[in-house]
Amino acid sequence: MEVALYISGVDQTTAELLSNMKAEKVILSFVAVFVGLIAAGVAFYLYQTTKVVPDQTKPSATKVAMHASPTPTGSDTFTVDMPQDEQVFDKKLVTIKGMAVKGAIITVSTDDSDQVVQPADNGSFTLTQTIPDGTSVIQFSAIFPDGTQKTIDRTVTFSTADF
């Protein structure tokens, strides 16, 4: 009953508006502008809440790639990245990775065997080496093209003990 009265009231208001064409146009224009503003506001809100802002504090993938494997330029550049000092392995075969100046002669010496390698054009070298049981020292020595030498020691352990 109340709904019917309300609708009849609306009908009366509509009838009054229809009678006045100018007022109708003005109201319609305002409503259209208002609806447009609301729609634009909603669209802007949705855009702001869903967009992803890149973190400027972290280096980008491109920057990381640029710093990943620079070609060593110093005449005595020699680093061993793997294995790390005092590292414990549960496998006897370990991977050795490092960097040295091009033309260097690198000797990898464990307690019971030696290997000699030369780095690639970009200075990197990779090889596998069997390590002795228990704790031992792997010595890495590089003879540089100018005749000087540099030595790096790494203490490594082979152990399958669970503790």
């Binding site: 229809l18 909603v42 002669i105 000797t107 031992s136 005749g147 000087t148 203490t155």
Partner: protein, 252 residues
């Protein structure tokens, strides 16, 4: 018609307004409890991860400096002092002594320690302690070859002269940049060759070094810091013929 358009426009307006409010759902009590549980789980995982990152297995080698009931101080191969905690489950071993224990450890003894290293305290909780023998390595150039006694003298890069014995158990290899390690012989060694030697000091003669393995780098560049002094022979005095006095027998 215009009446309908106005009604539709008004309805659309209210629908759009309602949709914008509907974008933020009211959290139900059930989802709140779930979120709390998820956060607690996250905290526990983060705590465990930090614990796991704080400790790790490590193995070190060093010479004993001091020993107490629950701690050993070592000087590691880099010269740093390391503190090793020991407890009742620490195991001891030695190749020379089957009943090796804490009481057998002496100052200056070289040992290896395998245990749990704490990055925060920088101490290692020992699980295994073994006596250790590390081979000695020298790099340098051959300055003298004694073919009779099968030994060579090597001048190291730190200007140390070492007498190296090549015995029957020693292996000698050569390396050239165009190839790989190949078998070599004592007779092929030359003065001035750049070599790498691994071995142990002789137990009877402290000045002698017993080579286990030797590598002769055939085409390695010379190290300018190594000075090979070739011994010069002592000047010999040529006998003179006319300058000296002649002795004549005394006639009696």
């Amino acid at each position: 018609m215009k009446k309908n358009i106005l009604l539709i426009t008004t309805l659309l307006f209210f629908i759009l307004i309602n949709k914008s409010f509907a974008a933020e759902p009211t959290p139900s009590p059930t989802s709140g409890a779930l979120n709390s549980q998820i956060n607690q789980l996250k905290d526990k995982i983060a705590s465990q991860v930090s614990k796991l990152n704080l400790v790790e297995k490590r193995g070190i080698i060093g010479s004993v400096q001091s020993i107490s009931n629950n701690q050993i101080a070592l000087t590691d191969l880099s010269g740093n002092t390391r503190y090793v905690d020991i407890d009742e489950i620490t195991k001891y071993a030695s190749a020379a002594n089957s009943s090796f224990g804490l009481s057998d450890l002496k100052k200056g003894m070289l040992i290896s320690v395998l245990g749990i290293y704490n990055k925060d305290s920088q101490r290692i909780l020992a699980r295994y302690i073994d006596t250790e023998t590390v081979p000695t390595r020298y790099s340098g150039e051959i300055t003298k070859i004694d073919g009779k006694n099968f030994n060579v003298t090597v001048m190291t890069t730190d200007q140390k002269s070492v007498k190296v014995e090549i015995d029957t158990t020693s292996t000698v290899d050569s390396y050239s940049t165009s190839g790989d390690l190949t078998k070599y012989g004592f007779s092929k060694l030359n003065v001035g060759d750049r070599v790498f030697v691994v071995g142990y000091p002789d137990k009877t003669d402290a000045t002698l070094f017993i080579s286990d393995r030797m590598i002769d780098y055939l085409d390695a560049p010379k190290d300018a810091t190594i000075q090979i002094v070739t011994p010069t022979s002592a000047p010999t005095i040529a006998p003179t013929s006319g300058g000296g006095k002649t002795l004549k027998p005394i006639k009696q």
